[in-house]
Amino acid sequence: MTQPTPASSPSQDFERVLPASPAEVASFEGHGKTFLQRAREFLHGNPAAVPLIVLLASLVIFGLLVGSKFFSAFALTLILQQVAITGIVAAAQTLVILTAGIDLSVGAIMVLSSVVMGQFTFRYGLPPELSILCGFAVGALCGFINGFLVAYVRLPAFIVTLGMWQVILATNFLYSANETIRAQEISANAPILQFFGENFRLGGAVFTYGVIVFVALVLALWYVLNHTAWGRHVYAIGDDEQAAELSGVRVKPILVSVYVLSGLICALAGWAMIGRLGSVSPTAGQFANIESITAVVIGGISLFGGRGSILGTMFGALIVGVFALGLRLWGTDPQWTYLMIGLLIIAAVAIDQWIRKAAA
């Protein structure tokens, strides 16, 4: 690199030596880099790599421990079915966490939306298709309230969604009168509500439409986050909100849109949950918010915002599923699953901190 001819002449005497100084960029490539440093830089550039490696490693380990009972097309697709709903909710959670927020109300929005889909059909006799749209509208409305309070009233996301969690859950119980709609009734009168529970087989593999929509959703969001202006703005807001605002990102409308989209995705999860359970129950999905945060964190998304890939979230959800099924087939106490997941969460955050140092 050649120094451009100075447009200005140095005004201070000590600057006269500058033209004689080396002009090439300081380069440290090629030497003084240990394997660990290189690994860290690779992981910094590819945030979904850690969860992918953990996922593959855990598949291999459980395959060796449990054998063909675990390492079969049936068992592996069973894992997908078991994590699909958590995974969809975790996709919503990922969007919010990428903006350096958190959404504790995702599980409640999911349940309320599913209850609305069921009750509108059976209590008011609406066509189920219309009830499903109403469920999505309720999810979007809940998300809008969250987003408005976070972006325009400037309340912390943690507090807003903690409050909305209670409000939505209470609304859910009051409105549904704690009443469950039975599976037989749904399959007789409104089978479309159970659409995502239907499955098809490819050899020994069983795929539900819930699994398909989970994977398709993650891929669609990956595209949106990485290849559209909106997606880049979501990252920029999570990275440094003020800098994003000053450099031309319309922070408030985008934050609202993130929460609304999160609400819509939760409603989708509510619909998929009817398929998985068969029935509509206001007490379902109690742990969805914690499980979604678990998947996001294990998936390598930084809770401080702006870093991580939604593919990591998918791998994170699958890791939880692999541990749950693997340990059960191995015949351990289910508490071991929780213990392992807890350790994984802490390890994931530790690794995130370590990778972040690559930037410094």
Partner: protein, 261 residues
């Protein structure tokens, strides 16, 4: 003082924060093609003046004119749309995004056709090509990889990206807030060269700086801000650095010929 019309001017700007008056009937004039330095003591109201001009705050009273037409900025975006680009002291870059993504933040280019209009796909090759061109124009192609994250750049390189972004999109005025404050000797020299390059293309620049040698080297005129208002405007050829500091700190009364209203 000058026959031509100012490109950017302000009259009687007032900005209060609670009981603190940051701007007290402040005036401002920037003429086409010049580098106007703004100097002032800490708390003199330089930052508030610049924020009002760049749209980051809206003044309580007073009028800002761009090309003679009154304007009201409600956000930095409004100012940018009107052609005023600002290089903030903290640079306003997103560390995790690439150089190209940062340069085009808020005004991305989409792919032509269905990919762009329906799928909203970014035209990364076009954005990277333009970013590379703009950086080369300013002699900043020491950056090898245009898709590397901004956080991997040195302080001087980041400053270069921020200046290149402003130079690439500013159509009327570029405001630079302390562009050399965080830089070493060599990087400062580079940024001063950049400022001269940008000026050579006919773009007027507002330079806020505490560094008197830098101010006296590049500025055509110096706006001295004191106690929330414009105290005087001097030519660097007529006064010494110590005169400027004396005026700025109140140690010297401004001579009648430079006294601003």
């Amino acid at each position: 003082m000058n026959a031509t019309q100012p490109i950017l001017s302000a009259r009687g700007l007032v900005k209060r924060y609670g009981r603190v008056t940051a701007l007290d009937q402040a005036d401002f004039d920037l003429y086409p093609g010049e580098i106007l330095a703004v100097i002032g003591d800490n708390g003199a109201g330089k930052s508030s003046l610049i924020k009002a001009l760049s749209g980051a705050v809206s003044p309580d009273e007073g009028e800002i004119r761009l090309d003679g037409k009154p304007i009201h900025f409600r956000s930095p975006m409004d100012a940018r749309a009107a052609g005023i680009e600002t290089v903030y002291q903290n640079l306003a870059l997103s560390p995790a995004l690439s150089i190209a993504d940062n340069m085009f933040l808020g005004r991305e280019i989409r792919k032509p056709g269905v990919l762009g209009s329906v799928f909203r796909m970014l035209d990364r090759p076009a954005m990277e090509r333009t970013a590379r061109e703009k950086l080369s124009e300013l002699g900043l192609m020491t950056i090898q990889n245009i898709s590397q994250a901004v956080e991997t750049l040195s302080g001087g390189q980041r400053q270069g990206v921020a200046v290149a972004r402003a130079a690439a999109f500013g159509s009327k005025v570029i405001i630079m807030d302390e562009p050399t404050a965080a830089l070493g000797v060599k990087e400062s020299r580079r940024v001063l060269d950049l400022i001269q390059d940008v000026k050579a293309r006919g773009m007027p620049i507002v330079l806020i700086s505490h560094n008197m040698p830098h101010v006296f080297e590049v500025a055509d005129r110096i706006h001295i801000h004191r106690l929330g208002r414009r105290l005087a405007v001097i030519k660097p050829s007529d006064y010494s650095m110590s005169d400027a500091v004396a005026l700025m700190t109140g140690a010297m009364k401004p001579p009648a010929d430079v006294l601003a209203a």
